[in-house]
């Protein structure tokens, strides 16, 4: 057998590692800032670009796509070359992938603070960036499948299966969820409206967690954990079941983000059932990871890499147990919209993704630089302060979530709400938010120490850009008829990818197709009209400022919510909402029935300085809305786009839209002027008031 000499590309691994560490620092720093803004709104220094609603998406995007994304690529490029015994297919594609991804991150860092956003969580980036992501993802895919095809190892290791599933599914999710119609270069409206948009978004949102934050990390776990422990995975059989069951079931669970909303009941139940089923493969994977260390637990005491990985896998187990529990309708009824969810995602983000990444880096960097880790002591310090940070973060947010939901739902013996003022329930948990920020600070300190440690490690070693190695060439297909179907399959990467795609597409289709059929079946509410041009402009200001990061627009059918906010929300009310704005966390009260609740004057002063109307409010002031002009130049294009999406504006409405806008704006301004406020009708505040006063009024029967 011919033995071929070749080399592994370590440079690309190093580059992604550096990028990941840099963005870990940036993303988590922004995280601490947004966490602190919750109890100190003044921290935005009156600057609109760094106000909570705009930089909270910056934090989530930076951590998910910049820190975790780059870490995935570092780990994938390192492990894939080695288990396939081949250099990456093309060094050029690797470079394009690396720089393309960093440019996407850069464009996100610029556009999000500018308020250029689609408002869909974890998919906030506007359409040109969406296209760039798609292109770079294709580059990654070509590079990966190219490597698989030119491999020297006959069989494809399970880690690579997880990478394949990631590539295929993320592509599908990203494209389906990002379908939008451009209004202008940096503005678009979602192709879907209301309930459909919500379902597509959370099908995406949930599976982004599954196929961006979970499957690639499971692949990394299946490579780096055996590597660090220097022993094979506990059960390879289990890993096969783990893989197929996970990718098959995960995709169905998305609707559990929408329990008790206006989403059809059958879809909600589907989400619940599959979420419960998901415990099996998730825990199978966790057990497989932990049992890999059987008989080697003594190593965990000394080896910091293993310490990080053990906590990571344990956190994965916790998060994947909690997820299904949160999908039970009774528990979800309590915890949805509260800080419990924030806690849940951070068990995953800080524990699973963060700690597995740190473990991986402590393993990788000394390898890449042919040396030992600079300081084991510092790494141990990082481990303990990081763990402590997670404990502070998670426990404070659990407590906050529990406290707030119980206050929301508390009635007096007389049958009225015990805490009718929403603000009271928010202020009650402020100390918990301070502890949360402190926990984040501890975790962040650990990351800084790691960065220093890794830089020092790199300095004392010498980087090996091309690691020489050798392996026998792959003999062309000596297929015997005795081979099982699966063994044959995993030797054929393309067919394998197709089957994986089928597995994930079935769930997606069964979930989404009927919901698109609703369009014709939905009980239309005759009184629901499209937004007026002014309201549409106001809605876009609402989106720009990221109001949906703190305010939901979905009153659930509970007495505690209908008493507090008004009539529960109906699916038919959202048919013109491109995109939907249901929100996912109530830092402030629900706004779906806010229309007509307060006079225009109240909104004016409240936006200028929330504390003047609600003493103690933690909402940041929005004084710039009082001085910035409404962008009337965009009205016609927006109306035309909405018409193209099926919103029934009369023909030629785009031409007259601005006149209609002016009439409505003048009437709001006149009302304000009557109350001695020198408001001008061309300011953004007028449009926003127009939108807020419209919200939920379509079906209002009683005042």
């Amino acid at each position: 057998m011919e033995v071929q000499k070749f080399s592994y590309d370590n440079r690309i691994v190093r580059d992604f590692t550096i990028a990941s560490v840099v963005f870990a620092i940036v993303g988590m720093l922004v995280g601490i800032i947004v966490a602190s803004q919750i109890f100190t709104p003044e921290l935005n220094a009156g600057i609109q670009y760094i106000t909570f609603g705009r930089i909270r998406p910056l934090h989530t995007n930076a951590v998910i796509f910049a820190f975790v994304g780059n870490a995935i690529f570092a780990g994938v490029y390192y492990s894939m070359q080695r288990v396939l015994k081949a250099r990456m297919f093309s060094d050029l594609l690797s470079r394009i992938h690396f720089w393309g991804w960093q440019l996407i991150i850069l464009s996100a860092a610029i556009t999000l603070p500018l308020g250029i956003t689609t408002s869909k969580e974890y998919a906030e980036l506007e359409w040109p960036i969406d296209i760039a992501i798609t292109l770079i993802w294709v580059v990654f895919a070509i590079n990966m499948f190219g490597t698989i095809i030119k491999r020297r190892e006959k069989h494809i290791y399970v880690a690579v299966w997880f990478y394949i599933a990631t590539i295929v599914t993320v592509a599908m999710l990203h494209i389906v969820n990002s379908l939008e119609l451009p209004v202008s270069f940096l503005k678009s409206y979602s192709l879907y409206a209301g309930v459909q948009d919500a379902l597509v978004q959370w099908w995406y949102g949930h599976n982004a967690v599954a196929f961006f934050l979970t499957t690639p990390y499971l692949g990394l776990m299946y490579y780096f954990l055996p590597k660090a422990a220097n022993r094979p995975v506990y059960s390879y059989r289990l890993s096969i079941v783990h893989f197929w069951a996970l990718i098959f079931i995960y995709i169905w669970a998305g609707p559990h983000h929408l329990l008790y909303t206006a989403l059809p009941d059958w879809a909600q139940s589907l989400g619940t059932v599959f979420s419960i089923m998901l415990i099996a493969p998730s825990w199978g994977g966790m057990i497989n990871g932990l049992l890999t260390l059987r008989g080697a637990w003594d190593k965990v005491r000394e080896d910091v890499v293993l310490k990080f990985m053990v906590v990571a896998v344990t956190a994965y187990g916790m998060a994947t147990f909690e997820g299904p529990m949160l999908s039970l309708k009774n528990f979800n009824a309590l915890m949805h919209y509260t800080d419990w969810i924030v806690s849940h995602v951070h068990v995953g983000a800080l524990g699973w993704n963060g700690f597995l990444t740190f473990g991986m880096f402590y393993y990788l960097v000394p390898k890449l630089y042919r040396t030992e880790l600079y300081s084991k002591k510092m790494a141990n310090f990082h481990f303990w302060i990081g763990t402590l940070g997670i404990v502070f973060y998670v426990s404070s947010m659990y407590w906050a979530g529990l406290t707030q939901t119980l206050m929301w739902k508390q009635f007096t013996p007389m049958g009225t709400l015990q805490y009718p003022n929403f603000l009271e329930t928010t202020l009650q948990i402020i100390p918990m938010h301070m502890i949360r920020a402190f926990g984040g600070l501890l975790y962040f300190t650990g990351v800084i120490v790691m960065a220093y440690n890794l830089v020092k490690t790199a300095k004392q070693g010498s980087f090996l850009a091309n690691e020489e190695t050798e392996a026998p060439a792959l003999q062309k297909a000596e297929l015997s008829s005795k081979e099982t179907f699966h063994k044959m399959l995993e030797k054929r990467p393309i067919q394998f990818a197709l089957l994986a795609f089928v597995a994930v597409a079935i769930g997606g289709m069964i979930e989404l197709v009927p919901t698109f059929m609703i369009k014709s079946n939905i009980p239309t509410i005759a009184s629901v009209r499209p937004y007026t041009p002014l309201e549409l402009q106001g809605r876009d200001i609402y989106i720009r400022e990221g109001c949906n990061n703190c305010h939901s627009q979905m009153v659930r059918p509970f007495r505690s919510e209908t008493e507090r906010f008004g009539e529960y929300s109906k699916a038919g009310e959202y048919v013109y909402d491109h995109p939907f704005l249901w929100g996912s966390r109530r830092t402030g009260p629900d706004l779906h029935r806010v229309g007509g609740k307060y006079p225009n004057l109240w909104h004016y002063f409240h936006m200028e300085n929330p504390r003047s109307m609600s003493p103690g409010s933690i909402m940041p002031p929005y004084p710039w809305l009082l001085t910035q002009d409404i962008d009337t130049a965009s009205t016609a294009a927006k109306i035309r786009t909405m018409q193209a999406l099926g919103v029934p504006y009369p023909k030629g409405f785009d031409v007259t839209a601005n006149e209609i806008l002016q009439v409505q704006a003048d009437s709001i301004a006149a009302d304000l002027q009557r109350n001695k406020v020198p408001a001008e009708s061309n300011k953004e505040i007028i449009a926003l008031i127009g939108y807020l006063q419209r919200l939920g009024t379509d079906i209002k029967v009683k005042q």
């Binding site: 592994y8 069989h155 290791y157 094979p232 079941v241 069951a245 009941d265 079935i506 069964i510 939905i522």
Partner: protein, 61 residues
Amino acid sequence: MLSQYLSSIDGVAAYPIFSLLIFVPFFIAVTIWIFKLDKKYLNHMSELPLHDSPEQSELRN
């Protein structure tokens, strides 16, 4: 009210049956696969990450 959606979709009863029909054979097939896999193959696969560089043994303390 929500059940209206359910009943208003044509042939909605097919969905749970369809799901069941996909699931049961799929998981039976996977189970059969993994028990039919031979030991040599499984050992080879699980040892794969451990033997991916020639100087493997000297690197790990």
